[in-house]
Amino acid sequence: MNITRREILRFVGGSALGILLTPVPWKALDDSAIWTQNWPWIPEPVRGESSYKLTSCTLCSASCGLRARCIGNQPVSLSGISAHPLNSGALCSFGIIAHHLRYHPARLSRPCRISGKAGASGSTAMAFDELLLEVAAAINDASASSQTVAIVDGRPGRTASHLFQQFAAGLPNGKYITAGESSLEILGSMFEKPPGPLAYDLDNSKMILSFGVPLLDRWGTPARTARYLQKKSEGKQRIIQVETLQSRTAGMADRWIPIRPGTEAAFALGIAHVILKDKLFRDASKDIAEFETMIAAYPPSAVAEICGVSQDFIRDTAREFSANRPSVAVIDGSANSRHALAAVMALNILVGNVGRKGGVVVHREIPSPVALSKNKMSPISTLDAIPDHSIRAMLIDESLSGSSLPDGLLQKKLTGNGILVSLSPFVTERPFCTQYVIPSPVFLESLAELTGQADRESSSLSLSAPLVPEPAGMVDPIQFIQRLGSAAGVMNIDSGTTEELLKKRMTAIYSEKRGSIFNASNGQTSELKGLTSPDELWNVLFAGGCWMDSPETVRSLPAVRLTSVSTADRIKNIPPESNQLLLLPCAEDVIYRNSEISPLMSKVGQESGLRPSGCKVYLQTATGDALGLTDGCRVMLQTKKGSMQAEVRLDPSMMPDVAAAYSALNQQNIISLCEMNQDASLQPTPVKIQKV
């Protein structure tokens, strides 16, 4: 049979009609739409049973109690425990998404060595044992050539800290260094003999004079703002914020005193001048007369000139500060020079805030069996006290993020062949030396101990329980120091697993019978005495609870030396040359400088501009207009130390002629443009801004 074109066409015509009379087109249309609703490459949430587990946050020493909502065993969201005495249900924006940290793409899975030579940097994965051998060799080398081995601890007071101290004591030139709140360390050093661990008692203070401390944003407990607003409405607390930028704290404080960048010390000395002149001081230091002559160059008129504020501001602040007791002056150690810290701390001494409830208080030491064991502990020293270029090996515990030392300072203290050994879940680039990084578990993966708050009247202790299993090959701080000790032949370190050592500490605390205990599962706080056994204490702390020491009773403090406040440094405004601005390096997330954050943080940065993301420079609108810059344009920042590109943001709240520069999470870039003080703190630096 001959099939012609027309017959084929008829067949096709019939088929076309036929197919319309079947479910094929309609079902295909429907199912393909359903396919787009369930694309196989779009992840689906895992189904499972829902439960809540209680624990404590390890991101900073605020030790917030939190509730993890879990599906199966997987934490899917975090929220605060509302009855918790430390955080009253509040979490900070880092904490609220901290359960993502373990999935961070930059997570370190194996120990590695990172070559420090510029250009030759590359990371070599190695076995832990192999790494220990190399580090031990360097330590032995240091001991042999009487170079220093330093161990840096961002969270002192932990059981691990005490083991670190034992390790340092076991070496001929071992030093144990804390990177705690350095303003309080300075205050401690102004006493003839150290009074003990110091802390700001902010909750009980009637007036807080803050020098740029982000009190209402991210410093200390995230419950601060709510507490302050409550007390403010009751007339029980005032905050005066002395700061160049209109920060979140400046915006909410009772008063914002905008001073020129880098003039905090001058402003504090101006207040001291008024206090002395008007006889507003309480605590007479034996060298007070000497101090008065020292600061004679800082009358309000001169200080007003330096800081760019009215004299009345200085006088009023001085009067309020001394009249509204208990008051406290606070300053952030990581962003200011030591001179500024000392000048501000002198204010606390002058009006008698030290050792007083609502001022600067002395914390009691938390009982520690390790501290009492036969193994000797090295005393605490500061990195300042160590000569430059003398540290052969520096060990840093970064397993819990926390205050970290500026890289400039670390670099200055290391010898030419110095190595840095870091225990951390992530790699922090430190291109100035050979670095060994040992992977540690992150939040929610391991048992961690949390001690001490620098913003509370008494110290506390919490535990963070492992809610999820840690990946293989992770090392916790206690294992780290024990293994390193045995590799380097340091034998005087207490043995025992992390859990055993922590349980021993519970027994020691329990036997002291002091302080109170918060039980997260029922929201009750009770006397420690009411517990029946150390195991009960352990169980309560293991489930988001918290032990709070009883406040230290006021005792007589040793005498102080106000003259240790130095005015030798150029504490005055650096007038920028014409067509130059003053570059103010800003650290949005200074505590987390050496840590990673959840990738979801893009929501408040990259995706909404709430917090600066990428490299941004903020200028007063008028300043920007004068320079011919528009919002969003790209500029080159040029200082004597280098140059970099940034995006301009015009902001009417900015002080004229100041360029506030933010760089991405890791601050290296902006810091590299700034001139540094002796103590490695950054100076406001003249900068030229040119459109690119």
């Binding site: 979801l600 709430l610 009417p652 004229p656």
Partner: protein, 256 residues
């Protein structure tokens, strides 16, 4: 089925004087609602934040400059809901049971007409397929579905939490839920307690009381869309800036 008692009208009052702009609401919202981290090319105009905090200042130069932070989310318009009437295929719906404006991404064809209709910019388009770093997709909330590229999404007052609260009530044999059983993630996570959430139809609720206060206002009130998100501030410049009609106490009886 429903009893005679009035149906709830969920709403919010946000105290601007209490907001310190920390961004917890944005983050808690993203966690609760499975919003993925930013695509590397995303920016402030292509990212997804159901709840977004915006700094607003008084336009005065330093040092008289003052600012507040506005947590902005879907304003859940109660009347002439601008986005609802424009959707060609009913992917947007005013939920008569709760007053919540629903967005159903699986129905959405991604025409984005609703986004041009919304004066509050509360609607977000998925310009990319969602992606989570490896492993992070195991930490998603099963009460909320994930979305795909090419659809619009927005805040629904954490409706998954309302469903969970209702399920809990149902298993106990209750048809109604108590106020405290349902609170969106943003309000729960706010460390300064700036966000009040509750039933505006219940004259005795705290949100009703606060919404009627003279310091409370809504954005673009004159459009007549009756948003169920109120803001309050004691700073007069905020009111001037927002061009807000300050209400007298007797004038307005909300959602009566």
């Amino acid at each position: 089925m429903e009893s005679n008692e009035k149906k709830p009208r969920y709403g919010m009052v946000i105290d601007l004087d209490r907001c310190n702009g920390c961004g917890n609401c944005t983050l808690a919202c993203a966690v609760e609602n499975n919003v993925p981290p930013a695509h590397e090319n995303a920016n402030e105009r292509t990212g997804i934040t159901w709840m977004r905090v915006q700094k607003v200042d008084n336009n005065r130069p330093y040092p008289e400059n003052r600012s507040v932070y506005f947590p902005l989310t879907c304003q859940q318009c109660d009347h002439h809901t601008p986005c609802e009437s424009v959707c060609p295929q009913k992917a947007v719906e005013y939920d008569t049971e709760t007053g919540i404006v629903a967005q159903i991404p699986v129905r959405c064809l991604g025409c984005r007409y609703c986004m041009t209709a919304c004066p509050y910019h509360a609607r977000y388009f998925n310009w990319w397929d969602p992606e989570w770093p490896k492993g992070m997709e195991t930490a998603l909330n099963p009460d909320v579905s994930t979305r795909m590229r090419g659809v619009v999404e927005k805040c629904n007052f954490c409706h998954g939490r309302l469903q969970a609260a209702r399920a809990k009530a149902a298993v106990e044999g209750r048809r109604a839920i108590a106020d405290a059983e349902y609170i969106p993630a943003c309000a729960e996570s706010c460390p300064t307690k700036a966000i009040y959430f509750g039933n505006l139809a219940d004259a005795g609720s705290e949100v009703s009381r606060l919404a009627k206060e003279k310091n409370s206002f809504r954005l673009l009130e004159q459009l007549g869309t009756e948003p169920k998100v109120y803001f309050r501030s004691e700073q007069s410049w905020v009111h001037e800036q927002m061009n807000a009609k300050l209400k007298t106490a007797e004038k307005e009886k909300i959602h009566g």
